[in-house]
Subunit: 232 residues, 2 copies
């Protein structure tokens, strides 16, 4: 940032800054690709670990779970029939950004418990809401909250479990509108993201971008959106 | 180093220095062990890659190649019988340090071509030399210079080749006196060091020690130790 260092900045400090600027560029040159490759072929767990997990390289695997019944079965009608009558946890935000910095606060979503069918009404635009709703719990909510859907997928991806040498810590079910956004964050898990329907956009920063990703400490607040609440 | 920064050093630069000091300590806390563990059990190539190669952790594997005939066969008498009459490349240094900085020069060993039996005479102290002799070529000299010894070992270690997804770039045969030292260096290869006889001491620095390992640019010189030469 212009002027951030002040006039008294030592030449050595400027050299440090130059190194920090050069670092992400060098990392990209050395091992990062500009685009995330699509893999079609079947990789062994060892190859997958060696070529993608270990060097922290993202990839997109086509047809990795084409045998899952969910691919054909999971329509909104089906989901409503199977799980519509149950209470689920839904993240509700004014603008789609959960866990985002707003002014000087770290704003967490309201976690609302509602009938899954009411949530589906919003997704299907049968009910219009100014808020953005997102089923996005990260506490293994597929196994915890939606056991009736488990038969349509695998509770683990066998080659990934073999590659990592352990079963998944969490298996999450996410369903949301296109406005739903997961804010910039770092994750200490290896992630296997399976898109059943719709699309997901990822913006990935390599660890070498760290010097240019701002960090800060904020007060955490939870915004409860009361306009949605019935007065019962 | 005391006073290296001078009095004009900005507080930010001091903060950078503090980070560099904290970095190796944090890396050790996070993932490095104080001692290099001995592994007894048989690891699969995937486990070996995941637990040791990928996180750059050294380990010592007991009984990894107890089926190699070399373990019983490779006495100096046997080596003399099989390969004594051939010319081999030997690194000769005044003090055992090959590729070492001496004063303001980077001193490379003299690479002397000699009969392997003459080299063995020195190892066995049948001939006394003030210099240190070390068969230490790194251009796959086991396969290139000592093909007659190949039958006593494996030309590759199958589980390592499978783990790395490739055959070895080089298979080296090293034989030397206890005074022979390989200087501090970095290696962009994965190394599997098989000790057939004797012992080898490794001093390993994790990559996080980088800020405290001095780097420099030197003129390269080769010292030829002429006192050893016959006047033919």
């Amino acid at each position: 940032m212009a002027g951030a260092g002040g006039e008294g900045e030592a030449p050595a400090l400027r050299a440090v800054r130059r190194c920090l600027v050069a670092f992400p560029a060098e990392a990209r040159e050395l091992g990062l690709t500009e685009s995330v490759p699509y893999l079609d072929s079947h990789l062994s767990p060892l190859e997958f670990y060696r070529e993608w997990v270990c060097p922290n390289k993202p990839c997109i695997i086509r047809n990795a779970f084409s045998h899952w019944p969910a691919l054909k079965k999971w329509t909104l009608t089906y989901l409503r029939k199977v799980a519509g009558s149950k209470m689920v946890s839904v993240a509700v935000t004014p603008n789609g950004y959960a866990d985002a910095v707003y002014q000087d606060r770290f704003v967490m979503p309201e976690e609302r418990h509602m009938l899954f069918s009411n949530f589906l009404d919003i997704v299907e635009k049968k009910v219009i809401s100014p808020s953005v709703f997102y089923v996005q719990k990260q506490c293994s909510n597929l196994t915890e909250e939606f056991p009736e859907l488990l038969g349509d997928v695998e509770p683990e991806v066998p080659w990934m479990s073999e590659a990592l040498g352990k079963k998944p810590d969490a298996v999450n079910f996410w369903l949301g509108e296109s406005a739903a956004v997961t804010s910039l964050h770092k994750d200490h898990y290896e992630n296997l993201y399976c898109v059943i329907s719709g699309e997901k956009h990822f913006l990935l920063h390599p660890p070498s971008d760290r010097p240019f990703i701002p960090y800060g400490t904020y007060f955490r607040v939870c915004v409860c959106i009361c306009v949605e609440r019935r007065s019962d």
